[in-house]
Symmetry: none
Subunit: 169 residues, 2 copies
Amino acid sequence: MDRFVSTFTNKIDAKGRVSVPASFRAVLERDGYTSGIPGGIYCYPSLDAPALDAGGQSLAKTIDRLLDGLPDYSDERDELSVALYGDVHIIPVDQDGRIVLPEALRAHAGLCTHVAFVGLGTKFQMWEPARFEERRGRAREKVHRHRQLFGAGSRPAQGDRGGEGGARE
Amino acid sequence: MDRFVSTFTNKIDAKGRVSVPASFRAVLERDGYTSGIPGGIYCYPSLDAPALDAGGQSLAKTIDRLLDGLPDYSDERDELSVALYGDVHIIPVDQDGRIVLPEALRAHAGLCTHVAFVGLGTKFQMWEPARFEERRGRAREKVHRHRQLFGAGSRPAQGDRGGEGGARE
DNA sequence: CCAAAACCCATGTAATCCCATATAGGCCCA
DNA sequence: TGGGCCTATATGGGATTACATGGGTTTTGG
């Protein structure tokens, strides 16, 4: 298992903890944090969605690479660093596989009682379940409209229901 | 943990002390500026922002390298040397993980009751929280405007499997 | 001798660990 | 093939620890 796939909805408990889906944890075990503390999640607010982006080491490297391309001590670099690094949180995963999302992150995604974990391959997102459903609906519609452009070949013939949504509750 | 990541806001007490975030201290434990003071912080006023730049040995080295790159006895080098070295302070961290910022530094950043510690990877900055929020807003906006450029650049990094084209956020 | 800095200890809050439990899904065996 | 067992996973809650912060005390330096 080396990619984040499928969607799971888990509950935030009284202490603010949420279980990371086991299959995501499996991915993070390989891609998780480097030497030392295994299991850290690299997490930051999505730039243009009310959601959180998260992933392991490879996601962190992506951002590092982005900044390494900029000259040291340029105005630009500092500004970008602030936006990219300043909002990032390294979230430890406890031994039961749970995380606690900082207030700033919860606020950005509007998280309150439940979190939808959405696998996106090399990273995953965390959504307020209702908002995600709404977003998903629009995405499906968009795909539908453009289907002919993609061509028949790319349609894997399985219906829209990806078989998830109700991992719990 | 080997990089300064994320943002924390701590309070300045009656004696002018502030706690350095624990995770930053962890980085400094390995990278601290050990010139007599183990775990000391290399700190100076940011050149182009009302903030303070701080870090450990690697930051000090980066600055040295920057100056080494300039021709000896050039005006530019002298100017930069003064600007960078002139205001550098080596700040000791007490055994509870707190520092006291010299008046000159506090003045430059406009610090008074609280300090926002902003991780920027190899270094971190200290801001007056309100000013930082303002700066962060601008930085986000800038990233947003340029995001397609970044998107293109970072694609190969995480997209070794191709796919997930639809995983747009 | 005074002021400022460094040191040491105390405390409340928040995060972390650890254990318990339920529920779901897979597996084995009849 | 169906049913029951077994394991993995999510979740709840109590106990423990870490951390930021406040305040008193000692040291240092002018």
